[in-house]
Symmetry: C2
Subunit: 404 residues, 2 copies
């Protein structure tokens, strides 16, 4: 009865998209371990380990820190639904598809959502946030740290200050940044911070790490209205992840195994070393792309998201054909644009296990052939050459500058 649907034989892709990233073989190996029950004492002890690791990666001492049993978008819903009661007012900084998503989810509570907007590819002005919320009772300011739809990163400190001026909570979406871009939940005083498994953490998709501070925990205990979503209600979920171990729902055991190993890998490398690796690979990527006469969407280098690079598609290029060739001929996947940027940009992710010097070179070399095949003028070897130069500059021993 399953005729025609045979053995699973996926191709071996290099995912240079805004997620999912490639996964370290150690994570696959961990996930191949037989599952146990979700109330098994061995498992609940293992959950503690995951929480210890996750706190280190988030840089927080928050008790409520655990992976939600859903994708990153489920993390948005959990953050927003636990912070809001119907009729509450909140501000969402909207400058891309994922910040827009946060606004839409908040509206469904239903809450009054004030969108403080900037064009895709630009940061939201924190002063606009203060102006928009003045005199109002704003429950939270919602920020997307790294907007993968446009390759923008925003300075959390600036929005923390704005939220403080309004007496509001700060919710930060770090789906595209945790583990790849500097982040310090306690140091930056983020009230609710969530992420995704499948980006710079490099576990398979399906879990959303979240952390919530004491201020929010206290609020959750005194809400007048239940959280709209039972599944995303953090209070009972945390009684399961917390010391009471009361059953809430069956979590994805296999993905928790994978999350544990992925977090171990992050910490074995070290957060700072990992951030540096991501920064270096992007520098080399951009050097290579610019040497091939491609232009970045985000002009201000300080506002570029390290993990996802948005590059303008050169005129005269059939972008879908080009991406198809990259996939079919070189097994490399990159992403197109979303919403108003569809057809206008490519989004190249370098995250987690995908983010390696050799992958940057493989991509630039492959892209060179694709651009040439489409009739574009590309200086031979210039992309790869510029990237190699960037790597050599960064990697040579101190004091060896004269030899470059």
């Amino acid at each position: 009865m399953s005729e025609g649907i045979g053995e699973l034989l996926p191709p071996e892709r290099l995912m240079l998209t805004p997620g999912p990233s490639c996964v370290d073989p150690r994570v696959y190996r961990a996930m191949a371990a037989p599952i146990v029950g979700h109330m098994d004492p061995w498992f609940t002890a293992m959950m503690d380990d995951v929480q210890v690791l996750m706190r280190r990666v988030f840089q927080t001492r928050n008790r409520v820190t655990f992976p939600i049993s859903a994708s990153g978008s489920g993390g948005i819903e959990a953050a927003v639904a636990n912070a809001l009661e119907s009729g509450d007012e909140c501000i969402v900084c909207v400058n891309g598809a994922f910040s827009e998503r946060m606004a839409i989810i908040a509206e469904r509570i239903p809450a009054k959502v004030i969108r403080v907007e900037a064009p895709y590819g630009r940061t939201v002005d924190p002063q606009d946030v203060v102006r928009a919320g003045k005199g109002k009772k704003i429950k939270f300011v919602g920020l997307t740290h790294g907007e993968t739809s446009s390759g923008i990163v925003q300075r959390i400190e600036d929005y923390r200050k704005a939220a403080d001026e309004l007496g509001a909570l700060l919710i930060v979406d770090t789906v595209a940044t945790l583990g790849g871009v500097p982040l310090d939940v306690d140091g930056q005083r983020i009230d609710i911070c969530f992420s995704g498994a499948q980006k710079a953490i490099s576990a398979p998709p399906g879990m959303a790490p979240i952390t919530v501070n004491e201020r929010v925990e206290k609020y959750m205990e005194t809400r007048k209205e239940p959280v709209r979503s039972w599944y995303f209600d953090l209070h009972p979920a945390m009684t399961y992840w917390g010391k009471d171990r009361l059953y809430h729902h069956t979590p994805p055991i296999t993905l928790i195994y994978g999350m544990r190993e992925a977090l171990r890998l992050v910490l074995e490398e070290g957060l700072e070393a990992r951030w540096e690796r991501h920064a270096l690979c992007q520098q080399a990527l951009i050097a290579g792309l610019e040497a091939m006469n491609l232009e970045m969407l985000v002009k201000n280098a300080a506002e570029r998201l390290i993990t996802v690079t948005a590059v303008n598609i050169p005129s005269g290029l059939n972008e879908k054909t080009a991406r198809k060739q990259l996939l079919d001929e070189f097994n490399i996947e990159i992403a197109g644009g979303l919403g108003p940027l569809a057809g206008k940009i490519w989004r190249i992710g370098l995250m987690g296990y995908s983010c390696q010097t050799w992958n940057v070179l493989r991509f630039l070399a492959s892209l060179e052939k694709v651009l040439l095949d489409q009739g574009l003028r590309v200086p031979t070897g210039a992309g790869v050459g510029a990237a190699i130069h960037a790597f050599r500059e960064a990697m040579q021993p101190a004091g060896a500058g004269a030899r470059k």
Copy 2:
């Protein structure tokens, strides 16, 4: 920085709980395959395969048939949230923890929920449903096909009839039954049917198969109010799973690989053969338990859920100590009771890959030692003997009855 948290080394448990079940090595192997992107043409073609397989297992031609990216409880929320708008009235048949959960989730929409109740371990009277809904505008009747909290199964046809009398939709939770107990979504005219991955389907937890008929699909297109949950909104999720392939959220690629292989295994065995295997193993289990002087919670054999057997804990037994011994000494996990049945029953699951003749024998033999160690009188070998007898009766060739 991950010091003290070493290699993942889970014990090899035999899960005889109401889920998760043990997982076939073929499913682990499928999940060890490298992930690809969720927009990769190879992956979207593979999603079609999963849907074809899932329709066969649900026995439906419904277009909207796919796995939700959440555990079985997320399936409840998706079913309920897509069927309801705020202020709607619905009926939920409540006779256990999971049907109670459906009622709680519906109340959070917020909707008016009429609970038609029966004690744990009893079926809800379909006439009570009709009486409770008479003269009211009932949006749906919600039924938990197999209540794992008490080991009860309910006849879908009876509640379909009741829902028809009220002009209501029928939502059926088949988390504990799909793939283990006869079910025919189209034949039984179920409007919304959902399940879980980790029970008789025997994939790891983390996905909730759902199927929705045309009547519901049409309703979803004409709703006045958006679905309260963005994550569980079936309409955009289905544009991703449907032919449009528009991105909604990143699904758990690895779990979809596992789901595909688990569904293939279900269909290779054949639905009827699989139902028979589950029925046979439970017969043998019950024969064994009764031979050891244990009593079933559900007296009416026709109302017993085939996949989860609820057995009364004998007096004089420390049930937690007994379960701990089963786990520590024999690597077998069974479950205790929930809610009003906590401390009063054990729940023994025989589902999917866990449901094997040899596991029944291993469990009964292990339990005999545990009961003896606690000072209970158990006729030596009676449990195993009775189970073997049940297997021999069922397995002998036709016409060989005289030799038994």
